[in-house]
Amino acid sequence: MLKKSKLLAGAMLAAFSLAIPAHAADVKEVQMLHWWTSGGEAAALATLKDYLAKEGYTWKDVPIAGGGGSAAMTTLKAMVAAGNPPTASQILGYYALDYAKAGKLNNLNELATKEHWADVIPKALQKFAVTDGNWDAVPVNIHSVNWLWINKAVMDKIGATEPKNFDEFIAMLDKAKKAGVIPLALGGQPWQEATMFDSVVMSTGGPDFYKKAFVDLDPAALKSDTMKKAFDNLAKLRDYVDPNYAGRDWNLATAMVIKGDALVQVMGDWAKGEFSVAKKTAGTDFMCYRFPGTDGSVIYNADMFAMFQVPADRRGAQLALADATMSPAVQSAFNVIKGSVPARMDVPDTAFDLCGKKGIADVKKADAAGTFVGSMAQNYAQPPAVATAYTDVVTKFFHGQIKTSDAAVTELVKAIDAAK
């Protein structure tokens, strides 16, 4: 009965789409909304495009620039509300769940069962790809945000080695400051500051504290002295940025490290894509270390493709896209360029560089140890309303509108309460 009504709905949708010739014209077309417009990102996406092209599918971009994708999310909302969704859209964590709960996503169970997705994707990540037992999105990669990106030449010049804890990190930044290089390349935009703070909290309080505070939103943890200490540690980092950091885009901050103007950037591993595009090699030109004090944990976010309810004549292209995205070949090729690690745990790491190999091993280890946790700043720990409230507090603290760590934790609890 249910199936019948679904079929009917499908048929009606198909009939509707026939009425609009522009849509019915090409069923071998994948319409994809994404915000991968910077050099490394666009190059990574090209691997998927090429794979689909070989299978006879054309690709239509709906690209919307801007890291973090808030503009893209607005466009997507409008397209879905108008009943004209793209075949698929790049999407982050809780946004996928929103659409799934609103019944806007297609069911991929048949393909998922055939390809055994449930066995190869980390359980923590499946939370965002599966709703009520139905696969409706495919993870294309796993990013982690607790990374340091260091210019090796600068590090050698100032005589520093890998920092193992937060104090050593500060000592290294001091050395750079004395040597006259910008110690910390930071883009002073709210999401970048919050992303860095994810790592600071993990480093200060450890994975259990992180989970208690950000996954469970335990008010006691949010107000605790550990959280205050994390804010104090964040304040320490403020002394090592250059005066022009406010409002800088993340890839410009990465460029400062690539050029050797700055020593280190704290950023998710999408930064590695910029190093690759600049033809820099991991281990010789730049180093990737886990944020000091977070080794063994992975604060992840992942890019997923949400598969929307499309007319029946575009369904074939959609399934081809899902299949291509999940194929080990694409997962490997895409992530080698993007700087992230495959969302499938069974993809060999042979094609990856030093950082990629470390990333893959870290994710496996963290997944087994239960220290594979979602990033608060990137919407993988909490829904957008809470995550943005958190971002607000962090950025106001970093720019001095919230003056003390005492005030910061009070504000944090208050803002999260108001957003819940």
């Binding site: 808030s70 999310m73 607005t74 909302k77 929103d98 609103a102 883009g187 002073g188 935009q189 709210p190 999401w191 500051e193 250059d242 005066p243 022009n244 950091y245 406010a246 409002g247 800088r248 885009d249 829904p383 957008p384 309303a385 943005t388 409230a389 607000d392 950025t395 106001k396 970093f398 720019h399 001095g400 509108q401 919230i402 003056k403 005030a407 504000e411 108001a418 957003a419």
Partner: protein
């Protein structure tokens, strides 16, 4: 006689009334589509937004009415100054930005128009130069000003290179001063347009009046102050309406000049409304703020329009 006259007159009258009716109805018929469109797409959506502001809509709209809760939230945020709430920052910035923008645009626009109106040579070249910034999209304007004002690559570096090493101008990367940079960029973008409005007004003034003033022995300054500028009142009205409207809805400029609003310091009601509605999944709060914006503009414009239009009809 009378018996024949009556039936002849009756259809005649009927024909006239039909034609008259058609004539009477014609303006209404022609205006009906646009009236309908405005009714639905302006007033209908204002009503829709108001309804949403009374609900607890989150990511998508719903109709669980919760009364005035969202307005209450905004009201409490209005008085949260330490640390400043987003709404408080938005209101303060609106006052600073809007005030500077409208006043400076009017002063600069009027000044330029008066100078250009001195029958100078090359006016045809100068006018489009001043008007040109308006043709740029705000994203372009904003990005250009962001780069120009950036201390590391823009104005400050250029001054240092020229030898003025004590020159210091870092407003665009200082969250406290950012909003002034937005105002500078916005004024640059619109002053020329205001100039064009005033220039048109100046050209419309009857030369006889000016001659009469001259004969009466009025100085140039007095002529402008007592005669010409007061006669430009309708231009002030249109300029104000356009500028206030542009100030309230400026959005892309803020984000492009400040680089996505670091520290939340460059929040404006428009960015507040957008982020709450579309990215923070608090659509109801966003709708309430939109209604507040509309009420604010109504509170300014309605009395002003009323007094101006009453003056005219008198």
């Amino acid at each position: 006689m009378t018996a024949t006259a009556v039936p002849a007159a009756a259809p005649m009258r009927a024909r006239v009334t039909l034609r008259q009716r058609l004539q009477d109805a014609l303006p209404k018929l022609v205006l009906a589509p646009s009236f309908l469109l405005i009714l639905v797409f302006v007033y209908g959506f204002i009503g829709w937004t108001f309804l949403l502001s009374l609900t607890n809509s989150k990511a998508f709209s719903n109709f669980n009415f919760i009364g005035w809760g969202n307005y209450l939230k905004l009201w409490t945020w209005t008085f949260e100054t330490d640390p400043p709430s987003n709404w408080y920052t938005a209101i303060v910035n609106m006052g600073l930005f809007g005030g500077l923008y409208v006043v400076c645009c009017l002063i600069i626009g009027l000044g330029l128009a008066i100078l250009l109106d001195q029958k100078i040579r090359g006016e045809g070249v100068l006018r489009p130069i001043y008007l040109y910034p308006l043709a740029l999209s705000f994203i372009v304007t904003g990005t250009a000003w962001k780069l120009f004002l950036n201390p590391r690559i823009g104005l400050e570096k250029a001054m240092h290179d020229l030898g003025w090493t004590s020159f210091h101008f870092d407003w665009v990367v200082n969250p406290r001063m950012m909003i002034y940079c937005v105002a500078i960029a916005a004024i640059w973008g619109s002053a020329g347009f205001v100039m064009a409005l005033f220039l048109a007004g100046l050209r419309g003034i009857d030369g006889e009046i000016l001659k009469a003033a001259q004969i009466d022995g009025a100085s140039t300054f007095q002529t402008y102050r007592r005669i010409i500028i007061p006669m430009l009142r309708p231009v002030f009205l249109s300029a104000m309406i356009i500028l206030i409207n542009m100030a309230l809805k400026s959005y892309d400029l803020v984000l492009s000049v400040t680089g996505n609003n670091p520290g939340g310091a460059a929040e404006l009601p428009s960015t507040f409304m957008y982020s709450y509605t579309f990215t923070r999944d608090q659509m109801a709060v966003g709708s309430a703020s939109a209604i507040m914006m509309m009420m604010t503009i109504a509170a300014v414009m309605v009395p002003y329009l009323y007094s101006e239009l009453r003056e005219k009809s008198r």
